[in-house]
Symmetry: D2
Subunit: 360 residues, 4 copies
Amino acid sequence: MAGNSIGVLFRVTTFGESHGEAIGVVIDGCPAGLQIDLEFIQRQMDKRRPGQSALTTQRKENDQPQIISGVFEDHTTGAPLAALFRNQDRRSKDYDALVDKYRPSHADFTYEAKYGRRDHRGGGRSSARETVARVFAGAVAQLFLRQHGIKVKAFVSQVGSVKLTKPHHQLDLQTTWDNPVHCPDSATAESMKKLIEEVRSQGDTIGGVVTGLIQGCPAGLGEPVFDRLHADLAKSMLSINAAKAFEYGSGFAGVEMRGSEHNDPFVKDGQKILTSKNDSGGIQGGISNGMEIYFKVAFKPVATIMKKQKTVDRQGRPTEIEGRGRHDPCVVPRAVAIVEAMAALTIADHFLRQRSIRFE
Amino acid sequence: MAGNSIGVLFRVTTFGESHGEAIGVVIDGCPAGLQIDLEFIQRQMDKRRPGQSALTTQRKENDQPQIISGVFEDHTTGAPLAALFRNQDRRSKDYDALVDKYRPSHADFTYEAKYGRRDHRGGGRSSARETVARVFAGAVAQLFLRQHGIKVKAFVSQVGSVKLTKPHHQLDLQTTWDNPVHCPDSATAESMKKLIEEVRSQGDTIGGVVTGLIQGCPAGLGEPVFDRLHADLAKSMLSINAAKAFEYGSGFAGVEMRGSEHNDPFVKDGQKILTSKNDSGGIQGGISNGMEIYFKVAFKPVATIMKKQKTVDRQGRPTEIEGRGRHDPCVVPRAVAIVEAMAALTIADHFLRQRSIRFE
Amino acid sequence: MAGNSIGVLFRVTTFGESHGEAIGVVIDGCPAGLQIDLEFIQRQMDKRRPGQSALTTQRKENDQPQIISGVFEDHTTGAPLAALFRNQDRRSKDYDALVDKYRPSHADFTYEAKYGRRDHRGGGRSSARETVARVFAGAVAQLFLRQHGIKVKAFVSQVGSVKLTKPHHQLDLQTTWDNPVHCPDSATAESMKKLIEEVRSQGDTIGGVVTGLIQGCPAGLGEPVFDRLHADLAKSMLSINAAKAFEYGSGFAGVEMRGSEHNDPFVKDGQKILTSKNDSGGIQGGISNGMEIYFKVAFKPVATIMKKQKTVDRQGRPTEIEGRGRHDPCVVPRAVAIVEAMAALTIADHFLRQRSIRFE
Amino acid sequence: MAGNSIGVLFRVTTFGESHGEAIGVVIDGCPAGLQIDLEFIQRQMDKRRPGQSALTTQRKENDQPQIISGVFEDHTTGAPLAALFRNQDRRSKDYDALVDKYRPSHADFTYEAKYGRRDHRGGGRSSARETVARVFAGAVAQLFLRQHGIKVKAFVSQVGSVKLTKPHHQLDLQTTWDNPVHCPDSATAESMKKLIEEVRSQGDTIGGVVTGLIQGCPAGLGEPVFDRLHADLAKSMLSINAAKAFEYGSGFAGVEMRGSEHNDPFVKDGQKILTSKNDSGGIQGGISNGMEIYFKVAFKPVATIMKKQKTVDRQGRPTEIEGRGRHDPCVVPRAVAIVEAMAALTIADHFLRQRSIRFE
């Protein structure tokens, strides 16, 4: 219970360090009888994979899961579904200079404060390499959700000050994966790409925003009062490296609205009760209402920059540091797949939890 | 495990409905030997109490805890610390008209979708009345944290479009409780108050933002990779009624920054290692770094307005509804105490969790 | 998470001390829509109630639940189901002499070792008074299980060396409640009663065994590998005051059997697959197989005796102690209801857990 | 949360099937800074290893852990400690005949009832092969406990009707590992060995009892009221394959004792408060009292016998089955190491939990 697991019934545990042997994941609670579509899973893996474009780190990993347990004749058995991802392209030497120095805005100092020691190679457990495990687990969750008509989708909606201004329902989300930024508007994507390239050429990094959508979610998911659906989504999203903020529905903009303007009127559409607009973001009282769930996650600029920075060493003596290793100039292109994964894990967990609370 | 508990080691469970007999709370895991200062607790309760000013609902509750268990000779015993708050001023008749109608942007529809039924009186379990239990538990957590030099503080930093623009370290937080809005800047507080009064006179409601601070937090709290300190804070905050967004440190603004600008350089100050600025918001890699933790929580406008609204009934037939009952025109003045409580619960839990992870 | 909760989905938390204001219980996760039959619940409460016969403590408690939360129009709402039991007949003065002394084989010494302090009145939280909360929760669980055709039954099968020798399927379990010992064989019950009376007249106490049965349990409950159904039953049973041992199916006797003798052959009976005998006790590989589950729980003699005993005080100085207060000479007549309750809680929890593990 | 994890703070998750690629284990919560003594770990592994003597299955596995994560420079880092054990000697063909048949008293039928399918090869997840992961985790727990002066020890005390009659404090436990039965009395061990050989020569199997001891356990471990130390020990022990019963302290024998005889008088010994005898088995009120903890675990005869047995197939049609594969004629010689492991896991978890409950 040291923070490496998430979910109550669809429970995911990850292990492994960036420059260790492998990254691994165990899903305990994946329903038995689910068909495992390895091609779908690999497509999700590839969305997060390093080296997929010039905009990302050039670390070479094929990110192919080795399934150890829980699948028999292409279906889940109910046993823990475990998979490994070998770390193929480690360059631990790149980190030798860092063994005694704290990189600014990295986890070096805090890991030592917490544990009294750390594995300095490649950031150890604090590296985004760990998210390979999440994307696998999220892909399995998506396979499960798809059988129940639920889809999760995400895309880049901001890089630096370049924003995607169109409302998400006017976008063709099929195009998200047509460009290396993963923004479903080609003109905006192009501006974002230019900004990332410019920033990188300066040895610098830049932040961004990922928008997430959950479509086809039935009404009734989420648990009052602490495990509200959006509260668990917030936790999932803020557990992603470099995430700084989360909002859903009207979010921060809702602050300036009047109740009469913000409230979502109920209407009947055929046999279904809907709302005529959706400032609630698909969740009311912490429980899904059957409308589309949408949210945004803000990411800070990556801490590793290719510039000299002042810092201190373990003894607190002033020193300098310069970025080495292979890093992303902006996390959001690769974070899209991670946001999808964490959203899928959260919804799958609440989907299973909802099965137990009705007397039937 | 239906969402009514939070925390791993300092574990809080709440129960009770808005118009039931009482609201209750159980803290399982409060360390034994903590002196219970009832005056301090009551001061925290009073910060959230309805009817404290003309800006809040006029429901009359004294909100005095009746401690049932876990305290002996003014100290905690290690047994579950349980307390009750009697509901004294129920007017369930106000809700009779609502038994078959779904109030827009309330939890009526979603509770029925989830459970197949609901206690319609006063919003039942979805009412903010439930938070009386949280403020009690949070006050106990604060007593614990204060013994370790940790303080949590919150204040209103925005109402509608009226914003507190001064950075928080330039404010005199002592003055937070001098005005009914609970904004530590008297001129801004006055503008906020006027806005709330204006909105209320129109039968409408308005949103706002609460800023939270955690001071004196030692480095090392928070658990990678899923239970990052800010991820658990985000969940805590978004579990509060009407919360729509959370950001910490640079938050959404950090998106537009370069890494070279955002990174926090380490410096030595006496025997301590600090950062010379704090865009990280006191947390790096999900673990506290010893600097001040700060964050913002956005609240939407209250859904109950004193205006006619269109909606549907259980059969989906169009109908109208008009606000009755006693309600807040803006939640943030009372939400300040709840934000403090949830922050204290989160930090107390991680403080205890940290005790187990070092070999000593 | 200090041990006062049990169950994953049907999660029960108890609070309150023997001589405090009240004992309380919260069930978080009871399915919504369950009809609450208060008469059934009270019958279960009365089976455990003190003073029900001359064989039990004469403490006077009516043990009527005050339901605080979670029930509306006689049905559960899905909100936490909370109830209180006022402590009506406290005689804390009886314990004044014990404030500095450790009663042999009581929890006085260990509570102080654990917490650094204790509420000495009536044993505080270690008193069997706490089980009033369990019997209530267990009765609610039984209401739920009965709707699914599952019944739990228990009875006294041994007091001291007086044993019920008939196999349980030859007994008329209806008669369990016809005698104050709660043994479904009148002749054996009479011998047990005499033994308890004799022991009590000597100021002494005696141990006993309770047998538990779960009938109508469907195949498939229980979770490999750690949460095996019998492992969770063992934990539940050994969490009851004075319990020292648990066995299910062939139990300790199975040790001396050969595999060829112990194995349960499968047979077909109509459309169902059964076993032709049941040394497995209804559980194979940790999962119910649809046969009757049966088990035994051993209880030691009550530690409070009406005789002088040697002990030490807080400073370790030798002293003497003499039993006061009102106590049971043998726990098993009242433990029958507690065993039923804990069995029902365990099965209800696993029943709900099983809903999540199949892809449907 | 499908049963593959145990422990609150020292939390162990296992994965992998008997005839899959590997068995794996993740320890989340092992304190950072613990030195990992691989030789000690391997010695524990070897105690459970198949093929160690003529009395056990002849499956050939070297059972050497491959540590994937959580150890750096021979010390734990606080990150999840994960290890794999490759399955080297699989003979899945041995199980082909069983694909449609339910082996008596095995988990074939119940796994199918639960999950709707099963991996029939080698018993899949229900195989005792899974316990290799537990022994590894238990060895790590023992390394931790040894640093705090706590030792766990176990030995065989009964095979069939051959019992070790000497009280455990009269035994030289060093000799436990001198004979293949793992009974610390050579004459009794010899009788047990003969019995096992005789039973095996008949193609049959036999049950047994393992006694466990925990020495040096400080007073104060265990959590009232549900997570009593002995309740958690009972669950741990009954989660081991083939376990049917658990007793601690006086156990079933205590039933026939009087309170005046059973009670343990407190005495002072130097600066320590002890009890002059120990029928309590080192635990009072669910909390350790500083005395030796002792308990017994009963194991049934192994279900796989080399004799023809009647059973049914999936359609319920009568059929016959004959044991194949390589199996133990009696589990207890190898179960000793597993009992030690599960005891260590339980105590380590409660040791860490105890750190959080005192105000310091």
